[in-house]
């Protein structure tokens, strides 16, 4: 699975996710990557989120929208919202994977409960093109 989240100079957010799914999948199995609110979500009122991991758990937990809702209704900051969903709710369900998320102030969270996540990030304040794989 691959994904991207962005905040542009006009203050707008967007999110995108794409995948081949699980190896050897059968019976028309679908994951979360094409489900708005589970694998992908964006609202200028909260954040943009793209997810990766075992899709079945991200579907049941409606992960992307859940993170945004913690910000919109729980008045939580991006880091707190992603930590609650990725490191508490998903872990309790044995849902392995991670999210990338950006809020309307340009804060970036790359949160995962698996061994690693291929990830990259940058901003107008950062000359670097930052890359990481493991914790």
């Amino acid at each position: 699975t691959v994904g991207a989240v962005a905040l542009d100079l006009d203050g707008n957010l967007a999110a995108a996710t794409s995948t081949g799914g699980l190896v050897n999948k059968r019976f028309g199995r679908l994951g979360d990557s094409s489900v708005i609110g589970s694998g992908t979500y964006a609202s200028n009122d909260s954040c943009a989120v793209s997810c990766t991991g075992y899709g079945e758990f991200f579907l049941k937990a409606t992960v992307a929208r859940d993170i945004a809702a913690h910000m919109e209704f729980g008045q939580r900051k991006l880091k707190e919202a992603t930590d609650i969903v990725v490191h508490d709710k998903l872990v309790k369900m044995q849902g392995e994977g991670g999210v990338i998320a950006i809020d309307h102030q340009g804060n970036i969270e790359l949160s995962f409960n698996s061994e690693g996540m291929y990830r990259g990030w940058t901003s107008s304040d950062d000359e670097q093109l930052n890359i990481a794989i493991f914790k």
Partner: protein
């Protein structure tokens, strides 16, 4: 005003010991190229929607990641993909599932996003829709990579499903 950008190429239980320095360098270079292209769009005043479409298109074109070229194989050896995109400004969204033969599924999701009649299309119907927009079609062998084929053979032996990042782990 500032812009910000993040990308991912998947998560899983791949262990540090299971990734060679050469593979790690290839991944770093690929991710840097994706960041550079999408950052250029944003720094030139491009929209967040354009930037995420550029980034995911580049990730789909790279055989190292499980999307587009390099996608994993389904049980019958085919390549069935899914993608979605959403605008935070308008809450418009586009999504496609069970799509085959389209080189960049995220570009199909973007067409659906821009079409006020639809949000989510799947399967053969989604392919018919893609043909109306002349999105690039490819045969299955375009998506083939040796490493995914090996994963597929392993998964078929155990008749289980695998996350593309799983080293030896299996998911049933």
């Amino acid at each position: 005003n500032k812009f910000a950008l993040a990308i991912h190429g998947g998560a899983g239980t791949l262990l540090p010991s299971e990734i060679t320095p050469q593979k790690e360098a290839e991944i770093n270079t690929a991710l840097q190229g994706v960041l550079y292209a999408a950052k250029k769009c944003l720094s030139e005043g491009g929209s967040a929607l354009e930037a995420v479409e550029i980034a995911v298109t580049a990730l789909e074109d790279c055989p190292l990641f499980n999307a587009g070229k390099g996608a994993v194989m389904a049980h019958d050896g085919s390549y069935e993909m899914e993608a979605s995109i959403m605008s935070g400004e308008t809450l418009e969204a586009g999504a496609v599932a069970g799509i085959r033969h389209i080189k960049n599924p995220i570009q199909l999701a973007r067409k659906i996003h821009d079409d006020e009649d639809f949000v989510y299309l799947h399967g053969k119907g989604a392919l018919d829709y893609a043909r109306d927009y002349d999105l690039e079609e490819v045969e299955d062998d375009y998506f083939f990579t040796e490493s995914r084929h090996k994963q597929w053979l392993l998964a078929r032996e155990t008749n289980q499903m695998l996350v593309d990042h799983d080293g030896e782990r299996k998911f049933g």
